[in-house]
């Protein structure tokens, strides 16, 4: 199946007018996003995330390399017809009400807003803005603006949804609702490309992760593959006799927890350790392969000295 988004060796260099000064915002970045995938685009501030999204949307032009969205160059009308976009720190025409804003965006999409009353009502209900139909957007809170931004991104049933920091400005309940909404869209087979700083949330919905730092791609792959280190397993055991110590269980780290004794051991030694525990009369309650979190992976990648220079 053809990729929805293709970045091929994309470089973006900002140049100052009348100056030799150059800033490489992106260097040789290549990746693809498959249809139906939720792709998390991660990186610290200034890593080049917003530049990449601007290139993807056709707001910026790459210095070199090629970008394709649905097989079209970025900014092409056929590509834009299939995209829903939420920019970072979204701003709207403040004098409009939410239904009027959605009607305006429907007109921009070339659709007739007169027959879209129920669609607009449904969308506003989906983002919990029903009841505020007569309030002008200028009077909205930050969170409400973000919600109407999400509603307009979903307006024309897009196949690709590009979200730059979709949960910024939202309270924990609002963030959870947005995540549920994204999970729902994922279930409908939509392709979602999002950047976010809130990694535990991204971890809940992303299939694919791209980490960039200082304009270079430092890691990319399926989330499961990136997080499942497979190096260690955690064994939780009960009724552990006092004579069973760390020295008895070779190479294991043993620590007491309220739920029982926690034994960390290399995957290669898990069978040997479990047998030793059983032989000593312990009850093995659980055995779980240890996964690192996305946050740990992210920090490891972006904190690497000299990495991605």
């Amino acid at each position: 199946m053809a990729a929805v988004i293709e970045f091929q060796r994309v470089t973006k260099i900002y140049r100052r007018i009348f100056s030799e000064e150059k800033l490489a915002a992106l260097s040789d970045v290549s990746f693809e996003t498959a249809p139906g995938q939720v792709c998390a685009f991660l990186g610290p501030n200034g890593a080049g995330k917003t530049t990449s999204i601007s290139l993807l949307m056709g707001f910026f032009f790459p210095t070199s390399g090629q970008i394709r969205v649905f097989g079209e160059p970025p900014g092409h009308l056929r590509a834009k017809e299939r995209i829903g976009f939420l920019p970072e720190n979204f701003a709207f025409h403040k004098f409009l009400t939410a239904p009027n804003l959605l009607r305006f965006h429907l007109r921009l999409a070339g659709r007739n807003p007169d027959s879209a009353g129920s669609l607009i009502a449904d969308l506003l209900a989906k983002v919990k803005l029903n009841g505020y139909e007569n309030l002008k957007i200028g009077k909205y809170s930050r969170g409400m603006v973000q919600r109407i931004g999400i509603a307009q991104a979903l307006l024309c049933d897009p196949q690709l949804i590009v979200l730059d920091e979709p949960t910024s400005g939202l309270d924990p309940a609002g963030r959870r609702e947005v995540l549920q909404l994204l999970a729902q869209l994922k279930g409908q087979g939509k392709t979602i490309f999002l950047s976010s700083h809130i990694l535990p949330e991204v971890e809940q919905i992303a299939d694919h992760v791209i980490i960039i730092n200082r304009g270079k791609m430092v890691r990319s792959g399926r989330l499961q593959d990136l997080l499942a280190t497979g190096a260690q397993v955690e064994i939780l055991a009960d009724r552990v006799p006092p004579e069973l110590t760390q020295s008895t269980l070779r190479g294991a780290i043993v620590e007491p927890t309220p739920a029982g004794m926690r034994v960390l051991v290399d995957t290669a030694r898990k069978r040997e350790t479990v047998e030793a525990l059983w032989a000593a009369g312990c009850d093995v309650i659980a055995m779980t392969p240890l996964r690192s979190t996305l946050e740990e992976l992210f920090l490891k990648e972006v904190d690497q000295p000299g990495g991605a220079q």
Binding site: F61, H93, L108
Partner: protein, 266 residues
């Protein structure tokens, strides 16, 4: 449909724009001050020199309308510059251009939104012309379409120029340049007696700057029954086509620059 939606949205934004409202309030204050002299003239009509006063009313109205019309040119330039710049500043341009809208369609929508506002301004100005003439006890002899179309075409030039400049610079700088162009075009206009400018510069600027004198509707205001003569349609057509051509060139240049510029929240 897309262009119309952008134009109507621009118009709605402009009529709520605080700077433009402040601009108009200042204009009304100056107008009210100028109205005092018109009322004085009207008062003097009843006395011994009524005939002379009658002849003075129309030039006074013309000078008042020159002020308002000049203000309209500035308003057109500022509105066009601000209509584009405010979208860039707020970042709303990103949401609009994420839709299947071409960049030139966005600019055209903005341009037409400004023209819609200027049409309202011109209609108000036309009403004001007749009101002032009535207050002064005079009659405007020229046809109303001249008083509508000429200023509209002139405002098209200045809004296209403002739009062209704002695609590459800050709106205040763009506005100042338009102001300089306005002053410059009146200085280099044929018949202006200024002598500080060498001929080569004057003639050069005459061809570069928009010839707003050619498109001035106020020259038709001073026409009285005695001086009334039918202007040839070719004269009108030449003047209006010149103005439309100038505006079109500015707009096409603006669209060309805007097509290749990076868009981000300023």
């Amino acid at each position: 449909m897309k262009v119309r939606a952008i134009a109507l949205n621009t118009f709605s934004g402009l009529v709520r724009n605080k700077i433009i409202i402040l601009f108009c309030a200042g204009c009304i204050c100056v107008l009210l001050l100028m109205l005092a002299s018109l009322l004085t003239l009207r008062n003097m009509r009843g006395t011994q020199n009524a005939e002379m006063m009658q002849m003075a009313v129309l030039p006074l109205i013309a000078s008042m309308m020159t002020f308002i019309s000049g203000f309209g040119s500035l308003l057109a330039a500022w509105s066009a510059a601000d209509a584009v710049a405010s979208e860039m500043r707020a970042g709303t341009v990103l949401a609009v251009l994420a839709r299947p809208v071409r960049r030139w369609e966005f600019l055209l929508g903005k341009f037409l939104g400004v023209q819609l506002m200027m049409l309202v301004f011109v209609l108000l100005m036309l009403g004001l012309n007749y009101l002032l003439a009535w207050i002064g006890g005079a009659t405007i002899e020229t046809t109303p379409w001249v008083l509508i179309v000429y200023p509209l075409v002139r405002y098209m030039i200045y809004s296209a120029l403002g739009m062209l400049l704002v695609t590459v610079m800050h709106p205040i700088v763009a506005f100042c340049i338009v102001l300089v162009v306005m002053i410059g075009s009146s200085l280099v206009a044929p018949g202006n007696p200024q002598t500080f400018m060498p001929d080569w510069l004057r003639s050069g600027l005459f061809y570069v700057f928009p010839s707003s004198n050619l498109l001035s509707e106020t020259r038709f205001l001073t026409i009285t029954r005695a001086t009334l003569r039918a202007a040839l349609w070719t004269d009108h057509a030449t003047a209006l086509v010149y103005g439309l051509d100038y505006a079109l060139v500015c707009f096409v240049l603006a669209a060309w620059i805007f097509h290749s510029r990076s868009l981000s929240r300023d």
